[in-house]
């Protein structure tokens, strides 16, 4: 029984892990600097922000929804946080605290809007978040007067350059979030409801649950994750800009899908999402080291997304067989 369960879990999660390892092995041999400490640190830094956004996106996709607004909301978060942190009226310590808080609140509020509108009027989140994509981008440009903000307090800039146990601080933040959210999804009542609603919302409602509250919460979590990603972005680049984050939603969705989460909802895992984000990051980095240009890399990334989903349909068939013969 336990052996079976382990095989089952391996089948469910390991496919994507094996793919990641294989890609790494290829690059280690093909690209001379790929395995160097500095490059590894680069990769960790590069995948962190996408990982955090993709974690939030996983919650929404598990419910059969989607959030197209994450890139724009990220820009809005950084602008609000940037204006707070550069405010001369506040002492540096307070400014930093308030900025972090502001970024989280702005992200969560955008998520609340997305969730509330799509649930209250039963509109597909694709449309609502497409609207939010424009709203948040416009708001970011409006508030900042389309300026890029620099000159953050030193304490903040220094934090971004720190390493913990030799790992970049923002990577540690991303991993912490993956672990916490993973525990929530797998062990908490909230997580159970997310999977259950994603599979059959009506059955959950008729079992005596207020499904709408859970669904809106998922959008709020997604927005909150974007808020965290906003702070990480500022830590990394020491700036806030109303035009950053364009196309980030697609990278996040790609990470979730490569990670094996079903777009229909109800099936998937955050470990998968993390591995998905890693594959995208490693590919981008490795191909660049091999001297491949931007355009060609985009083609390869696209092919990988399609291939991952095709492989996934076969994997699901095997898993289904496994269930049937259990």
């Amino acid at each position: 029984m336990n052996a079976r369960k382990i095989t089952y879990l391996l089948l469910r999660e390991a496919g994507i892990g094996v793919a990641l390892v294989l890609i790494c092995v290829v690059f280690i041999f093909a690209a001379p600097h790929f395995a160097s400490y500095r490059n590894m640190m680069n990769i960790f830094t590069q995948i962190s922000i996408n990982t955090v956004i993709a974690v939030g996106m996983t919650f929404v996709i598990l419910l059969g929804g989607i959030d197209l607004s994450v890139g724009s909301v990220l820009a809005l978060c950084t602008i609000v946080a940037g204006l707070t942190i550069t405010s001369e009226a506040l002492p540096a310590g307070l400014a930093i605290t308030l900025a972090v808080f502001a970024s989280l609140v702005v992200g969560a509020l955008c998520g609340l809007f997305n969730g509330f509108v799509s649930e209250r009027w039963r509109i597909h989140s694709f449309v609502v978040t497409l609207g939010m994509l424009n709203i948040a981008r416009g708001a970011a440009l409006q508030i900042s007067d389309s300026r890029t903000l620099f000159g953050f307090p030193e304490a903040f800039s220094n934090l971004g350059a720190q390493t913990v146990f030799g790992l970049p601080v923002i990577f540690i933040m991303a991993m912490t979030l993956v672990i916490i959210c993973s525990i929530i999804l797998n062990r908490s009542v909230f997580g159970r409801m997310i999977y259950a609603i994603g599979n059959n919302e009506e059955a959950v409602r008729l079992s005596g649950h207020n499904t709408i509250v859970y669904k809106i919460s998922a959008y709020v979590i997604c927005g909150g994750c974007v808020g965290i990603a906003g702070i990480m972005y500022m830590l990394r680049l020491n700036m806030a800009s109303p035009i950053l984050g364009v196309g980030f939603e697609l990278n996040a969705i790609a990470a979730v899908v490569i990670g094996g989460t079903s777009m229909m909802g109800g099936k998937g895992s955050l470990i998968g999402t993390f591995l998905g984000a890693s594959i995208i990051g490693v590919l981008n980095n490795g191909l660049l080291l091999l001297g491949m240009g931007d355009f060609a890399r985009q083609i390869v990334t696209g092919l990988i997304i399609v291939a991952a989903v095709v492989i996934d349909t076969y994997r699901n068939k095997v898993l289904l067989k496994f269930q049937e013969n259990d």
């Binding site: 159970r192 259950a196 059955a203 959950v204 008729l206």
Partner: protein, 504 residues
Amino acid sequence: MNSNENILELRGITKKFPGVIALKNVDLNIRNGEVHVLVGENGAGKSSLIKVLCGIYTPEEGEMTYRGKVYTPRTPFDAIEAGVRVVYQEFNLLSYLSVAENIFFDNLPRKGGFVDFKTLYRKTEELLNVVGLNISPKTPVELLGVAQMQLIEIAKAISSKSELLILDEPTATLSSKEISMLFGIISRLKSEGVTIIYISHHLQEVFEIGDRISVLRNGENAGTHSTSNISIPQIVKMMVGKSMDEEYPFRAEIKPGETILSVKNLRCKGKPSPISFEVRKGELLGVAGLVGSGRTDAMRAIFGADSRDSGEIILNGKTLTINKPKDAVQNGICLLTEDRKTQGLILEMPCYVNVTLTDLQAVTQYGFINNDIERKATDKLVNELAIKTPSIDQWVGNLSGGNQQKMVLAKWLFRETDVLIFDEPTRGIDVGAKYEIYLLLWKLAAAGKGIIIVSSDLPEMLGICHRIIVFSDGIITGEAVRENFDQEEILTMAYEGYMQEDTV
């Protein structure tokens, strides 16, 4: 046994799946022009047999002859070519297309590369007359009721040449009036020389339309008999492998107590007439009526699944505010919905998730689910209800129909409730499982719960209920208590609401 007499012969058909033998060495002869009834418990192999006949499954062993020739369909298309059509239990209709387009979907009449709508509508109208449906061929299928969809499926099956028609539980969703109409269609087809294989759980039907009957048990043919020399108890015995003393248990020693739930002046959304009734502790209250008579709507409104315009719901003397299912569940009222697959269960999740869904608080510590408690509680219920599943990690969707229904029961037994409303609790499940569910209903009654049973199976309600109320066209037209149960009187009440409407 000469080949002129038999349209279809099966010899030693065996179909295996990993770990299960679905069909074991099945021999079966279908005579030309007969109505051959196929019965058996869920999981006895009826569906597998159909799938073999229509080319979805290929048997590992055995051979089939159709009209004296070897018959080896590889795809459903081969079967249709040969003249074998199946009307499945689940509908395969495209809801946004018209009735006509659905019926002739495989075979649209054409004129110069375009659909010839004139011919299409004319042919459809002819077919609709045959199946007794008085609707326009242009009606979109999504506007039709379940019974009408069933008739469209049949029209579709007879639209092209079909010599052997297989009907998989066609009456599961029909009311008695529609059933008699269907039987009319079947005899008409029979007189036109069509051979029919008819699958059903309703044993009474067998005698009304069947010429011969075959019973499947555990993948084997337990015997084929002419319906004129076999009785229902004999069939049941063949199906379950043992004799059953009584079809419907009634425990006279359990007497209803005081009123537990009363519903006063309930008006479902958009319905003019109010409904009032009560249930008592330990009472099995039957709710009869035709499909679409407002029975299910009323139950859903009480439970808060659909909104209502007015009405008081009083439980144990306390007036409740019920606006959503959560309110009802927290006050101790539960509804076991008619459609277990879409509304009752999460098919692609394990048993234990389904069971504890009604009361997650009971298995939660500090916001996190305690897997041990959850699994133990599920194990206990699975054993108590004798649910057949290899493990509680199994997806509920992989269980048989009867076991899925028991799973719905298990999830509500997991939560403490006062009133249980069952909507069609025994639809589409076999005799053995039905009996077990009746016994469970009695166990709940003995524990002092109020039990409401909505069912289209009138003999079943006459068999197990203390009292029956009858819905007709959205109102309650009558009530009968056990001492005065009379099937005809209840049927009359069921049509009463519609009669009044006609005279106005």
